[in-house]
């Protein structure tokens, strides 16, 4: 047996939806985090709610990349594939790098499972030499788990549910991890079910010990803690960070949160999370549809709360008219779009960045709405707070763009203390403002807000064009032009209240600039970092603010010979950039419902760098 020290490992756990793969993955994650590794994870759910057991459609997966260096993505190729049945192997073998390790529950390769996974005539990938390029560790997990639980007072079904702990124990051994965290977790989770608790812990330990004694696995790996900024960390998923960020924005502005939403994948988890936090004064409202959801938010914002609605692409399509109203009313409102594969119903469980132009242009009339986007799961917290800040301080609906990859992905988060969060100031008028005019503006072009309950400030708002200052209905030609331009100016003016764009890596005259937004961050970051180490002249700028762009963006990008814009769509940010700055930026597009791999980006940069 050898003990190797490695910098970074990517493991993919896969099995049937019923196999507890997500739990296994998250336990491994937390243990790695506690060990001090940097990491990044992504779950891979089946598209069906619960496809028949043993089939390809039913495979659930969980990918984790962890290391002693900085980690920005869940990894391209996997080093280790852990599979609970043959369908899981078939569906995911393509992820494994040549020479990688497969940990196999060989009990999941019986005739029934083989048939369900589409193997005919006694084909069996374990027997046909198709895996010769990999190191295969076969374990009779089912059998061994049952054996170690022989004298536990549970049914077979319940015992079999401990298989995942056996495997987890095995993998813990491979990476020299402590079982403590998971044992604590189990103890908490099954505190009222001592039999189940006992069984799980036994299986976990059995797996660990099996690895230790059987010597089936000849090597053990050490992944040292990463040198990370010191401080307190937690693991966080994007949707969670978004929900928490919304509550934080509510606190920082002292406006109660009204969250109106209609369930839709992959945004629903924000609703689920927020509805748990009623003790923060959050009013969560499951509306009858997306239009009602945003309309209710407009009503709530009119009433002086902060209205937030979240959905995904098709839901945004329905909200367009109401967004236009909110824009005319100039009320604070946040529209969260957790993007998914489109168009139409598309690929609801897959990720995509294809709703950017919809956010920027998808309404009738001249109705520019600020657009803010998040780049990583933990970044959702700060960026959604920024989106809220803009909505409230500038009295406007704002789009916040996340996507399925960020929403469900997780990473360690050096979380802030609330006292270090920005305050959000609310442009509420004074109660006894006898000169109140609803559409009088300050130097930011922001109107003053008066809400029901303020005596003497009664006024009417609406979607018809309004007279400057008074807000009365006006059909006057030049007033209309003035108002259209003023509203646009107000939004453009936001550029003065956001940070300048900075380079994330590389130098300001680098030959190739990779310019991007959203969830492509990790892959680009990884690629650019490697290339910088290898001596390439490359830089990376990642946009949080897409409308308006940071003021210095034009001068920043024009310093580079080539501008590469990778997007998980057919080219959307690039249209905005080309239009605005007249630069011949180069698109790089992947529209497969999955993120870029760092190496794809790397190769493309090298191509551009070395001529072409």
């Amino acid at each position: 047996m050898t003990q190797e020290t490695v910098e970074k490992v990517v493991i993919f756990f896969a099995g049937d939806s019923g196999d507890g793969i997500q739990l296994t993955g998250s336990q491994f994650t937390n243990t790695a985090a506690l060990h001090g590794n940097d990491l990044s994870t992504f779950p891979d759910f089946p598209a069906e709610i619960r496809a028949p057991q043993g089939t390809l459609a039913g495979v659930s997966g969980f990918q984790i990349s962890f290391g002693s260096t900085e980690i920005f993505t869940p990894g391209d190729e996997c080093d280790v594939l852990v599979v609970m049945n043959v369908a899981a192997l078939k569906a995911n073998l393509k992820r494994l790098k040549t020479g990688g390790t497969i940990v196999v529950n060989s009990d999941g390769f019986d005739r029934r499972n083989l048939r369900l996974a589409g193997y005919e005539n006694d084909e069996n990938p374990l027997l046909d030499n198709s895996l010769t390029n990999f190191r295969v560790i076969e374990i009779n997990v089912t059998k061994l788990t049952r054996e170690c639980l022989l004298d536990v007072n549970l049914g077979v079904k319940e015992k079999d549910r401990c298989k995942n702990m056996f495997v987890l124990g095995f993998v813990y051994w491979m990476y020299n991890r402590s079982l403590d965290h998971t044992i604590n977790f189990l103890t908490q989770k099954f505190k009222n079910k001592s039999d189940v608790l006992d069984a799980n812990i036994r299986a976990l330990k059995a797996g660990y010990n099996f690895a230790n004694t059987c010597e089936i696995s000849s090597s053990r790996f050490e992944v040292k803690p990463a040198k990370m900024t010191s401080g307190k960390y937690r693991n966080i998923m994007g949707n969670q960070a978004t929900a928490i960020g919304l509550i934080a924005a509510s606190k920082q502005s002292s406006l109660d949160l009204f969250y109106g939403s209609y369930p839709i994948t992959p945004a629903s988890d924000i609703l689920h999370e927020l509805s748990k936090h009623k003790n923060f004064g959050v009013r969560s409202f499951q509306a009858e549809d997306e239009i009602a959801a945003i309309s209710a938010c407009i009503g709530a914002s009119f009433g002086g709360l902060f209205g937030v609605t979240a959905t995904s692409g098709p839901g945004v399509a329905l909200k367009g008219e109401a967004i236009g109203l909110a824009f005319m009313l100039e009320l604070p409102l946040l529209i969260v779009n957790v993007q998914r594969g489109g168009p139409s119903t598309g690929l609801p469980t897959k990720t995509e960045q294809s709703d950017l132009l919809q956010a920027v242009y998808g309404r009738n009339g001249e109705a520019p709405v600020p657009v803010v986007s998040a780049s990583t799961p933990s970044d959702c917290f700060e960026s959604v707070m920024e989106a809220c800040r803009i909505a409230i301080e500038h009295m406007t609906p704002v789009f916040f763009l996340s996507d399925g990859y960020i929403a469900n992905g997780a990473e360690p988060w050096l979380y802030p203390h609330s006292k270090n969060l920005k305050k959000i100031s609310v442009p509420m008028t004074k109660v006894n403002n006898s000169n109140y005019l609803p559409y009088k503006r300050d130097k930011k072009f922001v109107r003053e807000w008066a809400i029901p309950g303020m005596p003497g400030l009664e006024h009417r708002v609406g979607g018809l064009e309004k007279e400057n200052l008074t807000g009365n209905v006006s059909y006057d030609s030049s007033n209309h032009e003035f108002m259209v331009k003023t509203r646009a100016k107000k939004v453009d003016e936001i550029a003065n209240y956001i940070p300048k764009q900075e380079l994330d890596a590389g130098s300001k005259n680098a030959q190739v600039l990779v310019l991007a937004w959203g969830s492509t961050y990790g892959a680009i970051k990884t690629a650019v970092k490697e290339l910088l180490n290898e001596g390439y002249s490359v830089a990376h700028a990642h946009l949080r603010y897409i409308h308006p762009f940071p003021k210095n963006l034009g001068s920043l990008i024009r310093k580079h010979d080539k501008i590469l814009i990778p997007e998980i769509n057919n080219g959307q940010l690039i249209k905005l950039i080309r239009d605005k700055y007249l630069v011949d930026a180069i698109p790089m597009n992947k529209i497969q419902g999955i993120p870029f791999e760092a190496r794809e980006i790397k190769n493309r940069i090298i191509e551009l760098h070395d001529g072409e």
Partner: protein, 333 residues
């Protein structure tokens, strides 16, 4: 502004009223303005929310807070407003197209949720603002700009629909009955829960005379029936006709042949009978006006606030740092 005694005038905004001369909307505006001083709410706590349509211009004319929103969504907007601000008196102004065509879904969901808001549904059986297409309450066969050969849609019975959606308060009045309308407005206001008041409103430009029989001196008494709780259903000149029930079948009888005791006695709390009354529409019966049905049921906003209070009681007022931290943290030195 001091919380003084208001008059109707205090509720009149400085905006010029812009309906067609002769439009029934004027009367409704007047009655609403004259009822506002009676409901005992400071005017800064009153909000009028409307959709789009001639009727939906209403909020501009009220010296209260107001929103002229988008077509069909006033009910949904008001739901959010009331959930956010249960302390406000929220009035929804909507037309037959606004509430029953594009806005039908939000209407029925508002009714089932029972937010304490007051809906004034101006039913002129036509699309006024878009210049005269038929609406979901227009009678079948109606010739309009979009139906030159006559409409072929069976119309909604708005009150029957609302009762089907479990409305807790359903009433009807008419532009030409100012006194009755004021009474109904007050009843709507008094009801805790969603009040649906349908108001027959004459559009003298595109659908003049839609309710002629119910307003014309000659026919009015025979074609209208004014409901009063616990009172028998009588109508006609000198109230000489009545309605009795033969099993489930209502029939018109003369009070020469029957006594008041034989008649159907109106009971606002009886949903089944209210349902029967809404059907005095398909058939050759006088049209009922008044409160068809009224029932107390918990409101959505009360339940919402209760959950928030309970959550605070159970878990304490949310602590942001605890939330940010979550249950599983580690420290890197």
């Amino acid at each position: 502004m001091e919380n003084k005694e208001y008059t109707a005038k205090d509720f009149s905004s400085d905006q010029e009223v812009r309906w067609c001369p002769g439009c029934g909307d004027y009367s409704i505006l007047k009655q609403v303005q004259s009822v506002m001083p009676l409901i005992g709410v400071p005017k800064e706590n009153i909000v009028f929310v409307s959709g789009i349509g001639c009727s939906s211009r209403f909020p501009y004319y009220m010296e209260t807070f107001g929103m002229h929103s988008i077509h069909g969504r006033a009910t949904a907007i008001a739901s959010g407003l009331k959930a956010a601000r249960p302390d406000l008196s929220v009035w929804i102004i909507t037309g037959d197209g606004d509430s029953l065509s594009i806005g039908g879904n939000h209407l029925i969901h508002l009714l089932r949720r029972n937010f304490d808001t007051n809906i004034l549904l101006f039913n002129n059986q036509i699309y006024g603002l878009t210049k005269g297409q038929y609406s979901p309450t227009s009678e079948k066969g109606k010739k309009t700009k979009s139906t030159p050969m006559g409409s072929i849609d069976h119309p909604f019975n708005p009150l029957a629909l609302c009762i089907g959606a479990d409305a807790t308060f359903v009433a009807r009045s008419m532009d030409r009955e100012p006194k009755h309308m004021r009474e109904m407005l007050i009843r709507s206001n008094d009801h805790k829960g969603t009040s649906l008041l349908e108001i027959y409103q004459n559009c003298n430009v595109f659908n003049d005379g839609a309710f002629f029989g119910m307003t014309d001196k000659a026919t009015k008494l025979n074609q209208t029936l004014f409901l009063e709780n616990k009172r028998p259903l009588v109508f006609g000149e000198n109230e000489h006709k009545g309605i009795r029930l033969d099993g489930f079948k209502p029939e018109i009888v003369s009070l020469n042949d029957f006594s008041l005791d034989d008649l159907w006695v109106h009971d606002e709390s009886d949903r089944v009978k209210a349902g029967l009354l809404t059907r005095f529409f398909d058939i050759d019966f006088p049209r009922p006006f008044g409160v068809f049905y009224s029932k107390n049921k918990p409101t959505y906003e009360d339940a919402l606030i209760k959950q928030i209070d309970e959550a605070v009681k159970d878990k304490g007022k949310g602590n942001l740092d605890d939330l940010i931290k979550g249950s599983n943290t580690w420290t890197i030195q």
